[in-house]
Amino acid sequence: MAILECKALTKRYSTKEALASVDLKVEPGRIVGLLGPNGSGKTTLIKLASGLLTPTLGQILVDGRVPGPATKALVSYLPERTYLSDWMKVKDVIDFFADFYADFDRVKALEMLARLEIGTGDRLKTMSKGTREKVQLILVMSRAAKLYLLDEPIGGVDPAARDYILETIIGNYCEDAAVMISTHLISDVEKVLDDVIFIASGRIALTSSVDDIREEQGKSVDTLFREVFKC
C-alpha cells in the first residue's frame, strides 16, 4: 500500500488555486524529490500531508488514512521555519519529542548532537539560525517514522551544511520508510533521490524514477528540470 496517496487533490486559498486535481502515490522505501520552482505548490502538498491544511476538494491519505493524530504519529515533518520554542534548552526539546513521539530515538539524537558539539544544556535562544535548523533536523531524523516530509531542508544554507543535511537524512531514515524532499536545488539532491515529482503551478508535470530519466532520456534530473521549467 502507498504510504502517501493523493486523489484529485485540490487546494484553493481564496481565489488562488495552489494545487489542482493532483493524483500521485508514494511507495515505502523510496526517496522522492518534490521538485518545482518557487510557488509551484510543493509546500502546500507537504502541509496537506502533515495535517496542517485541509483539502478544498479531493483526498489525501497517509498510510490509507485521512491526516489526523494517528497519521501524525507516522509522519516526521521538517518545515521551512524553525519551530522550536525559545524558552527551551536542547534537553527540553529532546524530552518533548520523547514525550509525544513513541518512535523517537533519544540515544540517536544525543549521538548526532554530540557529533556537532551541541550540548544538551545549550539554550535554543542563544543558538544561530543554522544551529537551530540542525537541531531540528536531528530531532526529525531521530524518529523511526514511516514517512519523512522535508520541506526545503537545504534551502538557504551553505554547501558544506547541505552535505551535512543530506548525509544526516540518508544515514538516519528507516529503510522501509518513504522520504519526500521538496526543493528547487536539484543538483544538490539529485544524487540521493530514487524518484522525482515535477510540480508546476499546482499540477504534476512529471513523475518518474531517477534511473528512468538517466537511462531512457540520457539526462540528469537537473538538466530535465531546466528543460521542463524553462522560462
Partner: protein
Amino acid sequence: MLKLIKYELRATARPLLSLYIMLLLISVFNHFFWTREVGSTNETIDFLISLFGIIGSVLFAFLISAVLALTVALMIQRFYRNLLGDEGYLMFTLPVPTWKLIASKAVVSAVWVIASFIAVALAGMMVSMSMQDIFHSAGAGLLELFAAFLPGGTLSPAEKLFSFQVLLTFVLLLFDVILAVYASIAIGHLWQRHRILGAFLAFNGIWILAVVILVNVLYHLIGVMKPWVDDGVSGINGLLSLVNCMGLIGAAACFFVTLRILSRKLNLE
C-alpha cells in the same frame, strides 16, 4: 493532555513566578517600613523611613500592575505564538487532537489568572499583617469554612449549593474570557492582513453579542425569574443556575469556534 499542560506550565512559569517572588519580597519590605512610626527618634531616620516607604509603595503598585498585565499578555502571547506562529508547525503536527491543544492552553491560563490573584491578595495582606497573623487568620478561616460545609455544619443545603454556584460562576466567567480571547485571535487569523485588528474587532463583537443575548434571555425570562428572586437563597440558586448555563454555553461556543477554525481553516504563514 497532561503532557501538554506540563510543557505549557513550564513555558510560562519562569516570568510569572519571578514576578510573584519580587512582589512578595517588596511586600515584606513595605510591611517593615509601613509599620514603623515616624517622629520618635531623629529626623534622618524619619526621612529614610518615609523615603523607603514611598519607594516601596511605588514598586508595590508597579509590581501588582506588572503581575496582572503579564498574566493577560502571556495568555494572548502563548496562544498566538505557540499555535499560530512558527511554533504552530510543531504543535499542529504532534499526534494529539486539536481540541487538546486549545484546552491545555485554556486550563493553564486559568491557573495563572487564579495564581496571580492569590499572589496579589497575599501581597496585600503581607503589607498590613504579620506572617503570623496571616497564617492564623487564613488557617482559622479555612477551618471555619470547612466546618460549615461538613454535615451538621452551619450552612443549609441551599446555602452550600449557593456557595458552589458562586464558585462555578467565577470559574465559568474566567473560561468565558479566556476562550473569547482565543476565539477572537482565531477569527483574526482568518484575515489575510491586519490580523491583530481582526482579533480586536472579533473580541468586541463577541462581547456585544454575549451582552445582547444575555439581556434578551433575562428580559424574556423575567416573569419566570421573579418568584425565584422572592424565594430567598433557593430562588437565587435558580437564577445562578441560569447564569451558569449561559456561561457554559458561551464558553462552549467560543471553544468550538476556535476548534473549527484551527482544524479546518488553519493557515500558518
